[in-house]
Point group: C2
Chain length 116, copies 2
């Protein structure tokens, strides 16, 4: 996923996590959290990637720290977080950051491969 966003300033939550080998329900939860976050006030977008080594980075973007705090208190999000700690994650780091500058670049040929 890629998130086209309004001009800065806005806020980013950088969530870096290492998965366990426990799979039960993880993908469903992850999909559900993305859909649920998108319904929250102040949500701007999300980007997510996980490599073969199990390290994942999800960055969600928000209008303000208050919006982030409200999402943090959401009941279903709290349950997912608890299950993440009991089952899905070995460790994670969560960072809240204020985006001050943003720069987009795209191929002029409509995102095609250069050898296409």
């Amino acid at each position: 996923m890629r998130a086209p966003l309004p001009p800065p300033p806005y806020y980013a939550v950088i969530f870096t996590s290492q998965r366990t080998t426990v799979d039960g329900g993880y993908d469903d939860m992850a999909d559900r959290m993305v859909a649920l976050a998108a319904e929250q006030p102040g949500y701007l977008g999300v980007e997510s990637a996980r490599g073969d080594d199990g390290l994942g980075i999800t960055v969600s973007y928000w209008r303000s720290p208050e919006d982030i705090a409200a999402w943090r208190r959401h009941g279903e999000h709290q349950i997912a977080r608890d299950t993440g700690r009991s089952d899905w994650y070995r460790h994670y780091t969560l960072r809240v950051a204020k985006v001050e500058r943003a720069y987009d670049w795209a191929r002029e040929d409509g995102n095609q491969d250069p050898n296409a």
Copy 2:
């Protein structure tokens, strides 16, 4: 990779990119840029993940915006950026953000799987 860091505030460069199918030299360049960044003043750490869909997120952490600007001007980094635009990336977004809060969590059993 996971980056243990000093307490905030510090800065994050969030680089979200979509790869082309062109592989020539990409992995070597990526490894070289990580090694070279680590030698720069103000470098704190880096985290990186790329999924099977070709979307990657790399977050590098820095002491100050001045350190980020200096790394941006580094000659070898500029060459890698030019090749990224000509060959390796369909599109990318670069965001500079000030990390205000950070929170680490890890399993008490030494990062083991809960079913290990």
